[in-house]
Amino acid sequence: MAQEGQQHPIAIYLWIWGLLFVVSFFSYMVDYLQLQGYLRWSLILIFMFLKAGFIIAIFMHMKWERLALQLAILVPPVVILVLIGLMALEGEYTFLTRIEFFGESDFVPSTPHH
C-alpha cells in the first residue's frame, strides 16, 4: 500500500478539515471569553494537541504509515520535554536572581493604541 501512495476517501479529509475549523474556533473563544488560570492553560493545550494530532495523523497520513516510520519521526521530539524542564528551572532561577539583586520591576506599561 505504501508503494502505491496514500489514497483515501475524500470524506475523511473534509471531516478533519471541518473539525480543525471547530477546534480553532474553540481555542479562539478561550481568549475571547478571557478564561484564566488552569482552565485557560489546559484548554489551550487540549485544543493544540487535538489540532496537531489531526494534522499529523490524517493530513500528513502518519496514521497509515508503517510503525518504523512513525516511531522514527514521532519519538525524537519527546526529548524536547527535557529541554523545556531544564530551561524552565533556569528561567525561574534567573527571575529570582533579578528580583534579589535589582528589586521588583518599576516598569509602567502603556496600553496599545489601536
Binding site: Q7, M87, R98, P112
Partner: protein, 225 residues
C-alpha cells in the same frame, strides 16, 4: 575485497555504498522519507525558538505585554481581541484543506484539479504572509515594538515575536514558491515524462501541513498563553 569475496567499489562511491548497504529502512519513496527527516530537524529548530521564548518570558521581572490587547484590531468600533490572528489561523487551515485535496487529486492523476487546488493553497499562503506583513507594520510603526524594547511591557516580547513569527513567515513564503513550482510542473506534464508519479504532490503537501502545524503551536504558546 570484502570478507565474502565480492568486489567493492573504492572512493566516494564506496563510501556511499558502504553506508547505504543497499538496504531500505522505510518503505516509502525516498523523497518522502527525506522530507520527514527534514521536518523532524525543523521541529527542533522551532522548538528551540519556542523554548527560548518560554525562558525569557519566565525570567523577565517586567510584566509581559497583554498579548490579547496588543493584537486587537478595531473595525471602527471597539477593538476585537486577537481578531487578525484568528483570521490568519483560519486562512492557514483553509489552505491545509485545499492542499490535502490536491494530494488526493494528484494520486487520482487529475492534473487540472491538482493544479488549481495547489494554486489556491499558494494564494492562501500568500494572503497569510500579506496579513503578517500588515501585523508587523502595525506593531513596528503604531505600537513602537522593537527587538530591544516596547512601551507595553518586557523588552523580550519584541525579539521573541520577530524571531518566531519571522521564521515561520519565511517558511510560508518558501512554501508558496515550492507549491507553485510543483503546481506548474503538474500542469505542464513534467511528471508524465517521469512515469506519471504524483507522490511529489504529497511530499510538497507534507511541508505545507508542517507549516500549518507549527502555526498551531505558535498560536497556542505565543498568542493565547
Amino acid at each position: 575485497m570484502s570478507a565474502s569475496g565480492e568486489v567493492l567499489p573504492e572512493g566516494t562511491k564506496g563510501v556511499v555504498q558502504d553506508f547505504a548497504s543497499d538496504k531500505q529502512a522505510f518503505h516509502v519513496p525516498w523523497g518522502k522519507a527525506m522530507m520527514w527527516i527534514f521536518l523532524l530537524s525543523d521541529t527542533f529548530i522551532f522548538s528551540c525558538f519556542l523554548v527560548s521564548y518560554m525562558t525569557v518570558r519566565i525570567s523577565t521581572a517586567d510584566p509581559w505585554p497583554v498579548v490579547s490587547d496588543v493584537f486587537a484590531l478595531s473595525f471602527g468600533g471597539d477593538p476585537i481581541p486577537l481578531i487578525l490572528i484568528a483570521i490568519m489561523t483560519f486562512v492557514l487551515i483553509t489552505s491545509s484543506g485545499t492542499m490535502a485535496m490536491a494530494v488526493n487529486m494528484g494520486y487520482r492523476k487529475d492534473r487540472k484539479k491538482t493544479f488549481w487546488l495547489m494554486v489556491a493553497t499558494a494564494a492562501l499562503g500568500a494572503t497569510f504572509v500579506g496579513m503578517q506583513a500588515f501585523e508587523w507594520t502595525k506593531l513596528i510603526v503604531d505600537e513602537g515594538v522593537r527587538p530591544w524594547g516596547n512601551p507595553m511591557g518586557a523588552a523580550q516580547f519584541g525579539s521573541s515575536f520577530f524571531m518566531i513569527t519571522g521564521f515561520h513567515g519565511l517558511h510560508v513564503s518558501a512554501g508558496v514558491i515550492y507549491l507553485l513550482v510543483v503546481a506548474f510542473r503538474v500542469k505542464n506534464g513534467f511528471y508524465e515524462k517521469r512515469g506519471g508519479n504524483y507522490e511529489i504532490v504529497e511530499i510538497a503537501g507534507l511541508y505545507w501541513h508542517f507549516v500549518d502545524l507549527v502555526w498551531v503551536f505558535i498560536f497556542a504558546f505565543f498568542y493565547l498563553w
